[in-house]
């Protein structure tokens, strides 16, 4: 932990720098307490940045949920609550083993520490295994972000064999697990205690990914024979139920000064006409009444057109609407609305899964250091910091799970 510059300190620095400076204490700190407190404050601040980052996504979730509640209700039916619940349990359990690991580090129980870190790593891996089933299942159905969304409720076909998406996601883990197995066997054969202490937990973690895949398949297939149809039917139903309401709700959810009283499909004549201008109330409306104020009139018309288009219910053909915005009409189709939900789903869970992966990297680093017995009762900061990071990743999932899976 000392400076990388392997140069001798000058004489004056020498006499107060060393003496009782333990190896783990960085050169610029005076006491182990100062070092620990700095690290602790640092990791808490880092967690604040994580919370801010995810809160951007939660904000996007809230905005689009408020704007299109029917889409969220209809689409969240596709998420498998069982898999989500299993993953919630797995992460909660991993938080327990992580907290236990911190305690082990404080009590200098080195083997136990490696075991607890390994258990946490295994849980992380299990989580990702289940997640890969969830992802690949949805990708197979075409439940993708808005740009690639291709789900067709009338053409749900059952895939035989493994999904190509699953193969892509599992391949890195398969390679890593095989590598770890080889390493573990070699370490055992050579009777290298340190290497087998490290390779053992890592191998177990690699295998638990496939345990997660198996568990996910089991739960998903229990539903898939009749389940997929059931799910898609109920999704269609809920879309159909809420669909007619959309028009009326539109006026409430848009906060334009236009205050549209209801959404009627615009036709070519309307686009040039005054209804938006006439309906507009308040100061803006009065301004728009004046012939000379073309800017406000244009703005109101544009806002109304935007409101129409964003609802995805345009019935006119592209030729009827002029201007660059109009050319986009063809691309808008009602099923695409579901894409917004899945965009947010993939963004939130994807960023969360990325954090799990980073956490797995940290845990591996800790396992190596723990096997070297580097942690002791007055130096366990890194375990503590990674533990805090792990808890925030867990905590974020605790919010993600109800918001995406449970709230209907």
């Amino acid at each position: 932990m000392a400076t990388t510059e392997a140069l001798p300190h000058d004489a004056t620095a020498e006499d107060h720098d060393h003496g009782d400076h333990p190896a783990f204490l960085a050169h610029h700190f005076d006491t182990p307490e100062q070092q620990f407190d700095s690290g602790k404050l640092g990791i808490w601040l880092f967690l604040v940045t994580e919370v801010m980052m995810f809160s951007g996504l939660f904000c996007a979730y809230a905005i689009y949920r408020a704007m299109r509640p029917e889409v969220f209700v209809g689409s969240s039916v596709f998420l498998n609550t069982q898999l989500g619940a299993v993953n919630t349990g797995v992460l909660l359990f991993s938080s327990l083993t992580m907290a236990w690991a911190v305690r082990c580090a404080q009590l200098e129980q080195h083997r136990m520490l490696v075991g607890m870190l390994g258990a946490t790593l295994g849980c992380a891996s299990l989580f990702l295994g289940v997640k890969s089933i969830e992802y690949s299942h949805k990708m197979d159905l075409g439940l993708l972000p808005a740009g690639f969304y291709s789900y067709d409720p009338h053409a749900v076909h059952h895939h035989e064999g493994l999904s190509p998406f699953l193969i892509w996601m599992a391949a890195p883990f398969a390679i890593a697990t095989i590598g770890l197995l080889v390493w573990y066997v070699i370490a055992k054969v050579r009777k290298n205690a340190f290497q087998s202490l490290v390779a053992g937990p890592l191998l177990a973690a690699g295998l638990s990914f496939f345990a997660g895949v198996g568990l996910g398949m089991l739960l998903e297939s229990g539903e898939s024979t009749e389940g997929v149809e059931h799910v898609s039917e109920s999704a269609e139903e809920s879309l159909a139920e809420i669909g007619p309401l959309v028009g009326e709700e539109e006026g409430i959810h848009r906060q334009d000064p236009v205050e549209p009283t209801g959404v009627e499909p615009i036709d070519a004549a309307d686009a040039e006409n005054e209804p938006a201008v006439a309906r507009a109330t308040g100061v803006v409306g009065q301004l728009a009444q004046q012939e000379t104020n073309s800017g406000v009139r244009q703005q109101l018309l544009a806002e109304e057109r935007q409101a129409e288009m964003a609802s995805g219910r345009i019935t006119t053909s592209a030729e009827d609407v002029t201007g660059p915005v109009g050319e986009l009409v063809q691309a808008i189709d009602t099923p695409r609305l579901g894409g917004v939900f899945f965009s947010i789903y993939y963004c939130i869970t994807g960023l969360h899964a990325f954090h799990i992966l980073v956490g797995m990297g940290f845990l591996t680093w800790l396992i190596v250091r723990a096997a070297r017995r580097e942690f002791e009762s007055n130096y366990f900061g890194p375990v503590d910091y990674v533990g805090l990071y792990w808890h925030i990743v867990d905590l974020i999932w605790i919010y993600v799970f109800p918001l995406l899976y449970l709230i209907r």
Binding site: E5, T12, H16, H28, G42, L45, A60, Q306, A310, V325
Partner: protein, 570 residues
């Protein structure tokens, strides 16, 4: 080293020559060297951004464009000018370059709390800069530095490269801020309470709070924008039912506080400069300290003032307008306190002081013109005109950059142990001041007459004012060139600097110029950072010495309270 106060103060063994070779710089964990590397990086960016600005102004000499640039190329030039100046230069300028050098020294510490993270954030900066340059070299960027959707999701230019660069630069900024918060919290020396910290540290602390809280939101916004371009996630892109105004909300939630990331450290520099060069304790220490924090927190509530014309509800715009005015209170508190500090002080018109004075003038104009933009009805007229261009250049360039250059002149002897030529320093300050006003004052008039920003061509009636502005810009560029050459000349030919050339009382003036590798051989005794009674000019070294005996040696038995702790701030 311990006797630095009695001889000229130039340390033979200092951080610059403590170890040699390129690797000793590239892998250094020394905050001072990292600060110097940052300085080189951001000054290079400033040069590139400045040359682009010269190209913009040269092009605008004639109504149809004086340079052989197509309108598309013009769009790319002003976009890169903005992106480079904001992300590569101003945001890291004071915190990462000067702050890295000064924060630990002002704290009497050996280093920042996380030296490796500090080096890492420098390399993140380099990495981010590479991506921005990559965008420049591949197919350019023409969205404006704000990357507004839907244009940024439809243009053919390399938005993904540039936004990824900005994303990486954001993390560099986060780690710098995080490092400073922890350093200031945990590494203050015994005796330095919160209200005995130099105001530069308060300003840095407030800046760091914003960096840590706001920048992650920019990070996620840019990630979503990248996802929008590559996967069409339909969050910002109206083509896929997204909402472009949501992008603006997300973007300005970061980018308005980012304005304070840029200006707050400038405030910190000015607090030091005004007090030291007036040789008078700062007036209203606590008000200046608290107002930094107030600005940092209020800055999170006003982002909507960038979107008055974007289609928010009337109520929202009124609320944002009212909140925006509230920020002017702490800003004005600072200006009044600086003026009161100078009152009856013995002002030395040194180069740093000349820059500080022009800061006061320019920032005040910049701040006051902001009121016109925060007012709803005038903003509808002035939005997206040259008025806003001029306003934020008065704040960013006239404020932050002038403060930064002033700070460079102030701490240059400390950083490199050499004095510069005072005469040319003052000349540069005068040219910058005149050139700046000539460039940007006409732009207020242009804007109020309806000249829109970002246009490559304009009506003939605007030509006179545009030409004035362009000539001013060349003068401004020349002034900065003079400043740069003066500083460069000092590096090679300047006479050796005393450890305290200006008579400052903060801790950095207690160590030699340049500081030794570990800053202080012994922990310095902390006194009032703005107490100038015991600092006397010594003609033989052309610098100042500390005459108060209790400050020179550390008492053998630590006292419960330092000898000077009874001096209270007003």
């Amino acid at each position: 080293m311990a006797t630095s106060a009695t001889h000229a103060g130039y340390a033979a063994d200092n951080y610059l020559n403590h170890s040699r070779g390129l690797a000793s710089w590239l892998f250094t964990l020394d905050h001072k060297r990292i600060g110097v590397m940052y300085l080189i990086g951001i000054l290079t960016s400033f040069l590139v951004g400045g040359l682009l600005a010269m190209a913009i102004r040269a092009h605008l000499m004639a109504p149809d464009g004086a340079l052989p640039l197509t309108n598309d190329q013009y769009n790319q030039v002003f976009t890169l000018h903005g992106a480079i100046m904001v992300f590569l230069f101003i945001i890291p300028s004071v915190p990462a370059a000067l702050g890295n050098f000064l924060v630990p020294v002002m704290l009497g510490a050996k280093d920042v709390a996380f030296p490796r993270m500090n080096l890492g954030s420098f390399y993140l900066w380099c990495f981010g800069a590479l991506f921005l340059v990559g965008a420049l070299l591949s197919s350019g960027l023409d969205t404006g530095w704000t990357f507004y959707t839907p244009y940024s999701t439809t243009t053919d230019t390399s938005v993904v490269l540039a936004t990824f660069g900005a994303f990486v630069l954001g993390f560099s900024s986060i780690f710098t801020g995080l490092n400073f918060i922890v350093t200031i919290n945990t590494m203050r020396p015994p005796g330095m309470t919160w209200f005995r910290m130099p105001l530069f540290l308060w300003a840095t602390y407030a800046t760091s709070i914003i960096q840590v809280l706001a920048t992650p939101v920019l990070g996620i916004t840019l990630l979503l924008l990248i996802a929008e371009r590559t996967m069409h996630i339909g969050i910002f892109d109206p083509e896929y039912n997204g909402d472009p105004v949501t992008y603006q909300h997300f973007f300005w939630f970061y980018s308005h506080p980012a304005v304070y990331i840029m200006i707050l450290p400038g405030f910190g520099i000015i607090s030091e400069l005004i007090s030291v060069h007036s040789h008078k304790g700062i007036f209203g220490y606590r008000f200046i300290a608290y107002s930094s924090i107030a600005i940092a927190l209020l800055g999170f509530l006003v982002w909507g003032h960038h979107m008055f014309t974007s289609g928010m509800s009337n109520l929202t715009t009124i609320v944002f307008s009212a909140l925006t005015f509230s920020v002017s209170i702490p800003s004005a508190i600072k200006v009044f306190n600086w003026l009161a500090t100078m009152y009856k002080g013995s002002i030395s018109l040194t180069t740093p002081m000349c820059y500080a004075l022009s800061f006061l003038f320019l920032f005040t104009i910049g701040g006051l013109t902001g009121l016109f933009l925060g007012t709803l009805n005038t903003d509808l007229h002035l939005h997206d005109t040259y008025f806003i261009v001029s306003h934020f250049h008065y704040v960013m360039m006239g404020g932050t950059v002038v403060a930064f250059v002033g700070g460079l002149f102030h701490w240059w002897p400390k950083m490199f142990g050499r004095m510069y030529n005072e005469f040319w320093g003052r000349i540069s300050a005068a040219i910058v001041f005149i050139g700046f006003n000539l460039t940007f004052f006409p732009q207020f008039i242009l804007g109020s007459r309806g000249m829109p920003r970002r246009y490559a061509t304009y009506d003939v009636e605007f030509q006179g004012l545009h030409q004035m502005s362009s000539i001013g810009a060349f003068l401004l560029g020349f002034g900065l060139l003079v400043a740069g050459l003066t500083l460069l000349h000092a590096l090679f030919k300047g006479k050796l600097a005393p450890s305290n050339p200006w008579g400052g009382a903060t801790l950095e003036w207690h160590c030699s110029s340049p500081p030794p590798h570990y800053n202080f051989a012994h922990a310095p005794v902390v006194g009032d950072p703005y107490e100038f009674d015991h600092i006397d000019y010594d003609r033989s070294i052309d610098g100042y010495v500390f005459t108060s005996p209790p400050r020179e040696v550390l008492p053998k038995t630590p006292q419960a309270e330092p000898a000077t702790a009874k001096d209270s701030h007003s």
